[in-house]
């Protein structure tokens, strides 16, 4: 079976899990991205067909929301909050330092992504790695979090 038909079948299955309701499009896009790491272009016509929408509609939605990416990320993602409460705690300086030398995980450079508020505004600067919130973020604890996720993945794969 080739990769493309796999992807098509999987996309259909994710739609049907939501009863192919067009209002569930954003949920389905989240599901696809959780599995594939991004929204592969080939899924757009499949989504359109399954949910009875136009391709333009689906593409319009996928591109409107910041969460959805149209290509795989170049490395593990570090979400760094750049909201006002974190600015007051120096997130701009931290961002510069991270841009200059991004922390690595398994020798792969992380990708620093800007977000606005992670709901950790009393413990800024705030960051998030694999859904794990980091308070009083600095280069060290961000690196630690990246390494921990890498280990978790490895353990998961082994057993």
């Amino acid at each position: 079976m080739n990769a493309e038909s796999d992807l098509t079948e999987r996309t259909r299955a994710l739609c049907r899990a939501q009863a192919s309701r067009p209002d569930a499009l954003i949920e389905i896009l989240h599901d696809i991205q959780e599995e594939a790491g991004f929204i592969p272009r080939e899924t757009i016509p499949v989504l359109a067909e399954e949910l009875n929408l136009s391709r333009a509609d689906v593409h319009g939605v996928a591109s409107f929301y910041h969460d959805f990416r149209d290509a795989p990320p170049d490395g593990p993602i570090v979400k760094l909050c750049r909201g006002e409460a974190c600015q007051a705690m120096g997130c701009d300086t931290l961002a510069e330092a991270l841009e200059i030398s991004p922390p690595e995980s398994d020798g792969v450079k992380s990708v620093i992504e800007t977000v606005y508020c992670l709901g950790n505004c009393a413990l800024g600067p705030a960051a998030m790695v694999s859904g794990q919130l980091i308070g009083r973020a600095n280069k060290e604890n961000i690196s630690d979090a990246l390494n921990k996720t890498a280990t978790r993945k490895l353990n998961g794969a082994n057993g």
Partner: protein, 521 residues
Amino acid sequence: MADPYIIYIPQDSAACSVGANEVAEVIVQNARSAGIDVKIIRTGSRGAYWLEPLVEIEANGKRLGYGPVTTANVAALFESRFYEGGENALCIGIVDEHPFFARQERLTFARCGIIDPLDLDAYRRHGGLKGLEKAATMTSEAIVEEMIESGLRGRGGAGFPAGIKWKTALAQSSDQKFICANADEGDSGTFADRMIMEGDPFALIEGMIIAGFATGAEHGLIYLRSEYPAALRIMTNAITAFEDVGLLGENIADSGRAFSIELRRGAGAYICGEETSMLESLEGKRGEVRVKPPIPAIKGLFGKPTIVNNVLTLAAVPFILAEGATAYRNYGMGRSRGTQPFQLAGNIKRGGLVEKAFGVTLRELIEEFGGGSFTGRPLRAVQVGGPLGAYLTADELDLPMDYEAFVDAGAMLGHGGVVVFDDSVDMARQAEFSMTFCAEESCGKCTPCRIGAVRGAETISKIRNGENIAANVALLTDLCEIMTDGSLCAMGGLTPMPVLSALEKFPEDFDIPDARKRATP
């Protein structure tokens, strides 16, 4: 066999962001190797974030706290037999009597941080479900009356009276109505919605069911931002827990009424916190703002009457029904009734959640509860009400937290976020950020916002570079006027608030000649 020692450790994601999970693990290991029988209960957070991870034990019916605990001091805690309330440098005494908590008025957050958020029996023991059981015996009209009487206003930003909104929805005849909980919590400096969803999710669900009873809606949706994966997990389990015992479904609490709840994830768009944009998003579309009227209470989700309320608004409802409208409205000042969970954030020593009746001053919040700046440097600016809220100066701290007092001061209370900056802040940079944020998060539907914000950011950048300052300040002021008057929603309409307040109150940061003289008349 003796009962195990009970140890409470938060599982709130912010507490975990500073090591609560690791501390819990090490406590379990230490107990095991010392042969001490302990039972760990994971709770939400009490909201004293500077004390997190805050570990609590029960002694003589009181909860004693230790914090902030790190994995490194667990061994010492065991040496001092903390599980029996032993003396230790980290002991903060009886938690309820600690100055940060003793003066709070916790109505909405009464259980948060105290109980296991998914323990329905504990919820009931601590006053949960009383409101729902009461509402089950009341007519829709009577519930709405109670809500109007309570004076509760929307906590999502606009402060619209909740009861009036509910009355409008009740008056619509329709085959279907919806209750939408706005859990998008996009405002920087706010985290109360997250805390309640992680720490007392049943309160939100109970509030939504009561809203359903009051308006005739049988279906609820929670629009939860994707930045809150822990809240999503807990809310999902909380909904299941209610379904399992028939508190969601048909004939709830023998009322003959039905209600169900569905969770929907946001996708990283700030504008989707705006109610009509949220409705578009819930319909699976781009989050473009709708023209009002019609208001959602008349024509909302899929064109049906829809109540959109903030998480805190809905979570305040069970108390009102359980204790009565008067008990709630006895708190507060003027037309701001009840309590507000204020959130102390940014450069603040003791950051966290302070639930207090309206009327408390900004100074009390920042100085008495918050202990001043984190860095110890002088406070220079405070932004209240999220990224669209005004900047206030150190001279304005005596302002009472009250919707009307804030409007009179050219500011807004919003969702109750208080972000503190010390004297290292560059207010021109903050103003530029406000415009940049608006440009990035604009839904693009109207020109004053879409184009205005981009031009605004460019103009402030020029001012910061010292280019034609006077001319560019004049241009910026004009732009702000156009955005205020011509924007379809408050995104473009209120962005000028932080920008102009920064410009007017901190002109020296824009290098405006004679600024200091003008600033102090």
